[in-house]
Amino acid sequence: MNLQSCVTIQKEWDIVAARQLGRDIARKTGFGTVDQARIATAISELARNIYLYAGSGKICFEVIDNLDQKGMAMISIDSGPGIKDLSLVMEDGYSTSGGLGAGLPGVKRLVDEFDIKSEEGEGTEIRAIKWVR
């Protein structure tokens, strides 16, 4: 069973709250210091994405505990305008941050699994998973 905890993202301050909750969960799940920092950065990017492009949405966390693997899922859900061209958004250096390894490609690099669904006019859902090593 997975228990979800969510943080609503509406203002910039909420990004910090999401990072805080995510880092706490990561620590309790057994991630080391470096991975905690990576998880926090991934959460920043996901939350900033909501804050900048969707206006509002939420970031949820799930602890995953299989027989062979332990990990954590970060789920970003918004009902914003959606992403028209997913491959373009997933391209390095496309994001307005000037390709500083950030944006969604940055999130993908920071985690182990990454999935994105987006419908124009309906919103975007991103699911990023990191496994404890």
Partner: protein, 336 residues
């Protein structure tokens, strides 16, 4: 370097705040400031130096061993700084190359542009997406003066710029054929000769040429080693592979192509594709042709264009939005 001095004060304040409170906000600040550093081309060894100086100011009695330890850490960062500078050079070169390629891709798009024709009683859907900037798949519609429709679909074995150069050849050659030779087998025979003569032996082109005759409800087609398409029989609600034989273009100068013919009934669909559709990969697993047909069947009640768009979206996502090969899918559906 003035930006660096300004940021140094900023860094020290943030660091102090974090040491005192260990709150998340300071760490968020750390992330922001490091992004600004990267934007200003400040290499990582400067950050370590900044850190050492901030610590020395915050703790005037900082033990010598801590100072020395940070000098050591700084030394390890020099190589990372070098790699970072090389990265910046690479980015610039890459941008230049990409803009060159994008001009070339634009030229190719103009050159290879084809309009989806309007044919009474025929619903046509087509999507063609390049894996990289330049498309090595080629498709072309030719509306004959007799109301018939020619459909060319080709795939260069190989991707990118060389493939694109090849495709321009196909296009120019087809342009120069007189209209009478629109029989599929004659077209392939002619193209084969052009390719054999002009392209180096390591490069191959597969091609499917179909000629639809609305008045006779017939489709004539020939294939030069092209990925087989599918035929949907509405009366039986079944898909079957369109079987063809024929050598890929460019192997032998004298290749002859067999021509096939089939009657198309109301509701039937002809599905033409390149191997970028059927050889989608999900992780390490190749999908099966059945999976393509399943997605088509699920969306079979959509208009042909919506149908192909949907299929593309499905496999784009399956491949994590990074196509491994050019993807072209054409669906013809007989409406009446």
């Amino acid at each position: 370097m003035d930006a660096l001095k300004l940021d140094a004060a900023n860094y020290k304040d943030l660091l102090k705040h974090y040491i005192e409170t260990q709150d998340e906000q300071s760490l968020y600040g750390a992330e922001q400031i490091s992004k600004a550093f990267i934007k200003n081309n400040i290499p990582p060894e400067e950050i370590v130096n900044l850190h050492l100086q901030a610590l020395a100011k915050l703790y005037p009695d900082l033990p010598a061993h801590i100072q020395h330890s940070l000098d050591f850490l700084l030394e390890t960062m020099i190589s990372y700084g070098l790699a970072h500078k090389e990265y910046q050079t690479l980015r610039e070169q890459q941008l230049e190359l990409k803009s060159e390629i994008s001009v070339a891709a634009g030229m190719q798009d103009t050159l290879l542009a084809t309009t989806k024709p309007v044919i009474d009683g025929l619903d046509i859907g087509v999507i063609s997406v390049a894996a990289h900037q330049m498309n090595g798949d080629y498709h072309h519609f030719i509306k004959g003066s007799d109301g018939s429709l020619g459909i060319a679909l080709a795939d260069v074995i190989g991707k990118g710029i060389p493939a694109a150069l090849c495709m321009s050849m196909i296009k120019y050659s087809m342009d120069s054929f007189p209209e009478e030779t629109m029989s599929p087998k004659a077209i392939l025979k002619n193209l084969n000769r052009v390719v054999e003569r002009n392209v180096d032996p390591s490069m191959f082109i597969t091609m499917f040429y179909a000629h639809y005759l609305p008045s006779e409800h017939k489709l004539r087609y020939s294939s030069a080693g092209h990925e087989p398409g599918f035929y949907y029989d509405a009366s039986k609600d079944t898909f079957e592979e369109i079987e063809t034989k024929g050598l890929v273009l460019g192997v032998s100068p004298d290749a002859d192509y067999r021509q096939y013919e089939r009657v198309i009934n109301k509701g039937d669909m002809v599905i033409l594709l390149t191997d970028g559709v059927t050889e989608c990969r999900q992780g390490d697993r190749f999908i099966e042709s059945e999976e393509v047909l399943e997605v088509i069947r699920e969306n079979a009640d959509l208009p042909a264009q919506k149908l192909v768009d949907k299929v593309y979206k499905h496999f784009e996502r399956l491949q994590n939005f990074q196509l491994r090969d050019d993807f072209t899918l054409i669906v013809l559906r007989k409406l009446v």
